[in-house]
C-alpha cells in the first residue's frame, strides 16, 4: 500500500500567552479575604501582642464596660474580653477547620465508594445517609456529644465532623456516578489503576470544584455549631475560652445590662461567618451572566 498523504500535524506552534491574570484577581471577594486574613493573623499572633492573660480573673474589675484600659471591657468573671476574643478565636477557627477536614475526608471516601459501587450497594449507602440526614443535625450533634463524656476541643471537632459529611457525600456520589461513565476512568482501569488511585488522580481533581462551596460552608456551620453548643452549655466549658463559651455568659450579662459581653464576641463571630459566606458564594457557580429576556 502506498502512502498517499503526508503527516502534516508536526509543526511548532507559537505559545500564546493570554493575559488573564488581572481579570481573574479582580473577581475575588477581596473584603472577605482581608477580614479573614486579619482575624486568622490576629489569632495566631496573639501571644506576641502583649495582651493580658485571658484566663486571669480580675476580681477588682469585673463587668466593666469598654474603656481605654479594657478595650472591650471585662466579663462577669473579670476576664479581659479583648484578650479572650483573640484567644477564643483560635479555638473557634480550629474547631471549624478540624471538623471540616474530617467531614470532607469522610464525605469524599464515602461518596466515591458509593458512586463506584454496584447499584444495590449504592442504594443501600444512600438510604443510610438519608436516614441520618433525617435526624435534625443539631439533635445528632447533641446526642453524640453526650456520649463523648466531658466535651473538649477535640471531641467537639470530632462530633461536628462526624455529623456534617452527609450533604457533601451525596454531591460527591452524584458527581462520581457521572464521572465514572467517562472514558478516562475506563482508560485508567484498563491501565490497571486501583480504586483509590482513580479516586485520587482522576475523580478528586474533577469534582473538587463542585464541592469547594460546600466545604467552605462546612467550616462556617462547624463554627456555628461550636458556638451554639457552647452557648447552650453543652459544648466547651467556661474555662476553655472560645467565642461560644464567651457567649454562654450572656444570660448573666442580660441581667446586668452588660451589652459588650453579648455584642462583641457575637460581632466577631458574625463577621467571620459573613466573610466565609461570601467566599463560599464566590466559589459557587455564578448565575449565567446573559442578558435577561424579561
Amino acid at each position: 500500500m502506498n502512502h498517499s498523504f503526508e503527516i502534516v500535524g508536526i509543526r511548532a506552534q507559537e505559545v500564546k500567552q493570554i493575559k488573564q491574570r488581572r481579570r481573574y484577581l479582580s473577581g475575588l471577594p477581596w473584603p472577605a479575604l482581608l477580614v479573614l486574613a486579619i482575624m486568622i493573623l490576629g489569632c495566631l499572633a496573639v501571644p506576641w501582642l502583649g495582651v493580658r492573660d485571658p484566663a486571669f480573673m480580675d476580681m477588682a474589675n469585673y463587668n466593666r464596660p469598654p474603656d481605654m484600659e479594657f478595650l472591650f471591657g471585662t466579663d462577669t468573671m473579670g476576664r479581659d474580653v479583648f484578650s479572650c476574643i483573640w484567644h477564643g478565636g483560635r479555638v473557634s477557627i480550629f474547631i471549624g477547620l478540624a471538623a471540616t477536614v474530617l467531614s470532607t475526608f469522610i464525605a469524599v471516601v464515602y461518596g466515591a465508594l458509593s458512586g463506584m459501587a454496584p447499584v444495590w450497594l449504592d442504594d443501600l449507602l444512600m438510604r443510610l445517609t438519608e436516614i441520618l440526614l433525617s435526624i435534625p443535625s443539631l439533635l445528632l450533634v447533641i446526642l453524640l456529644l453526650a456520649c463523648m463524656g466531658k466535651p473538649n476541643v477535640f471531641s467537639i471537632a470530632l462530633v461536628i465532623g462526624l455529623t456534617s459529611w452527609l450533604a457533601i457525600a451525596k454531591v460527591v456520589r452524584t458527581e462520581v456516578r457521572q464521572l465514572a461513565e467517562a472514558d478516562f476512568i475506563a482508560a485508567a482501569r484498563i491501565m490497571g489503576g486501583g480504586t483509590f488511585y482513580i479516586l485520587r488522580k482522576h475523580l478528586l481533581p474533577n469534582f473538587l470544584a463542585s464541592i469547594m462551596f460546600m466545604v467552605v460552608m462546612n467550616v462556617r456551620s462547624a463554627i456555628v455549631y461550636e458556638s451554639t453548643l457552647s452557648f447552650m452549655g453543652l459544648g466547651l466549658p467556661l474555662s476553655v475560652i472560645s467565642w461560644g463559651s464567651m457567649l454562654s455568659l450572656s444570660e448573666k450579662a442580660l441581667l446586668t445590662d452588660a451589652w459588650w459581653i453579648i455584642l462583641i464576641p457575637g460581632v466577631f463571630l458574625a463577621t467571620l461567618l459573613l466573610s466565609l459566606t461570601s467566599i463560599g458564594n464566590y466559589l459557587r457557580k455564578e448565575v449565567n451572566r446573559k442578558e435577561s429576556n424579561l
Binding site: 438519608e130 435526624i135 443535625s137 439533635l139 446526642l143 453579648i262 459573613l274
Partner: protein, 335 residues
C-alpha cells in the same frame, strides 16, 4: 395502569418510611444508652447520692436499666407497638403526655414560622427578580447575606437585649405570662421575638434560591416569546416564569423542614420557650431516655415524611426521575 403505579409508589414510600423509622429508633436507642451519665439522677434527683448500693440496684431493676441494651430495646419496641412509650424519668409521667403538653407551642412557632418564611421568601424573591440589578435588589441581597450569616442564637440574644432589656417592649421568655390565662394576645406578644429570630435567620436563604431560579427562568427563550406576544411584565413574571419555578419550590419547602425544625429548637432554648426544643435539650442533658427517644422519633418522622413528600413532588414534576418510565421509552428493549 397509571393508578396502579401510583399505588405502587405510595406503598414503596410507606415501606421506606417504616424502615427508616425503625433504623432511626435503633440508632437513637443505642447511642443514647452509650452516653455516660446517670439516668437515676433524672428520676430521683439529689436523692441518688444518698442511696445505698442495694437501693440503687433495686431502682435500676425497677426501671429496667440493668438488662443488656438489646433486651432493653426489645422491651421498648414491644411497649411502643402497644402505644406505650414509657415514663419520663424527670417528669414522672408518660412521655406522650409530656410531649403533648408542649407540642402545640412548637407547632405554633415552627408552623407559623415555616409559613412566614416561605411566603416571605417567595415575595422577596419575586421582588428581587423584578428589580434585578437595581439598587433595591442589591441592597436586599447584601442585607440578606448578612442576616443569613448571623448565628441564630446570637440573633435571639440581640433581640432580647434590644427589645426586652433596653426598650422593655416585649417579654424575653416563656410562651405566656406566668399565672396568666394564656390568652391569644398574651401568646402573640410572647411569640414575636422567637418568631422574628426564626424567620429572619432563614428567610434570605430561600428568597435567594427563588431569586436564582427566577433569574435562570427569565433567561429562557419562551420569556422572549411571551414578550413578543405583547404580554406585560407582571403577567410574564407571575404567570409564566413563576409556574415553572413553583413545583421545585414546593419540593424545596419539603426538604428544608429539618433545617427549620433545628433552628426552631435552638431559638426555643434561648427564649426558654416551653416547646419540644427545650424539652429535647433538657432530656439530652439529664439522660431522660424515654423522652429523648420519642422526641427523636417524632422529629425524624416529620423529616422523613417531608423528604418522601419532596421525592413525590419531584417525581410528579419530572417523569425522568422514575426509572421505569425511562425504560419504556427506550426502543431497543427486548424482554
Amino acid at each position: 395502569m397509571k393508578k396502579n403505579k401510583m399505588i405502587c409508589s405510595i406503598g414503596q414510600k410507606t415501606l421506606v418510611f417504616c424502615a427508616s423509622i425503625f433504623l432511626l429508633s435503633i440508632f437513637v436507642f443505642f447511642v443514647a444508652r452509650l452516653a455516660p451519665g446517670d439516668p437515676l439522677e433524672a428520676y430521683y434527683g439529689d436523692r441518688v447520692e444518698r442511696m445505698s448500693v442495694q437501693e440503687r440496684m433495686r431502682a435500676e431493676m425497677r426501671l429496667g436499666l440493668h438488662d443488656p441494651i438489646a433486651v432493653q430495646y426489645g422491651r421498648w419496641l414491644e411497649n411502643a407497638a402497644a402505644g406505650d412509650f414509657g415514663i419520663s424519668y424527670k417528669y414522672k409521667m408518660p412521655v406522650e403526655e409530656v410531649i403533648e403538653s408542649r407540642v402545640q407551642n412548637t407547632l405554633l412557632l415552627g408552623g407559623l414560622g415555616f409559613l412566614l418564611i416561605f411566603g416571605g421568601a417567595l415575595l422577596l424573591g419575586i421582588f428581587c427578580t423584578w428589580q434585578e440589578g437595581k439598587w433595591l435588589d442589591r441592597l436586599i441581597c447584601q442585607v440578606g447575606t448578612i442576616t443569613c450569616a448571623i448565628p441564630e442564637f446570637w440573633l435571639a440574644l440581640v433581640l432580647i437585649l434590644v427589645f426586652s432589656v433596653e426598650l422593655r417592649l416585649l417579654p424575653s421568655s416563656g410562651a405566656y405570662d406566668v399565672g396568666g390565662s394564656g390568652s391569644i394576645g398574651d401568646r402573640a406578644v410572647h411569640l414575636v421575638l422567637p418568631m422574628t429570630a426564626v424567620v429572619v435567620n432563614h428567610l434570605w436563604y430561600y428568597a435567594y434560591m427563588i431569586r436564582n431560579k427566577m433569574l435562570e427562568e427569565v433567561r429562557e427563550e419562551y420569556i422572549l416569546l411571551a414578550k413578543a406576544k405583547g404580554l406585560g411584565r407582571e403577567r410574564i413574571l407571575l404567570v409564566h416564569a413563576l409556574r415553572n419555578v413553583l413545583p421545585s419550590y414546593l419540593s424545596l419547602m419539603a426538604i428544608s423542614v429539618p433545617h427549620i425544625l433545628g433552628g426552631t429548637y435552638v431559638v426555643e432554648a434561648v427564649f426558654s420557650y416551653p416547646g419540644i426544643g427545650t424539652l429535647f435539650y433538657e432530656s439530652a442533658r439529664f439522660q431522660d431516655y424515654n423522652l429523648l427517644m420519642l422526641i427523636c422519633l417524632l422529629s425524624g418522622a416529620v423529616v422523613i415524611l417531608s423528604n418522601l413528600l419532596a421525592q413525590g413532588i419531584n417525581e410528579a414534576i419530572d417523569p425522568r426521575m422514575r426509572s421505569t418510565a425511562f425504560v419504556e421509552k427506550n426502543q431497543e428493549v427486548k424482554s
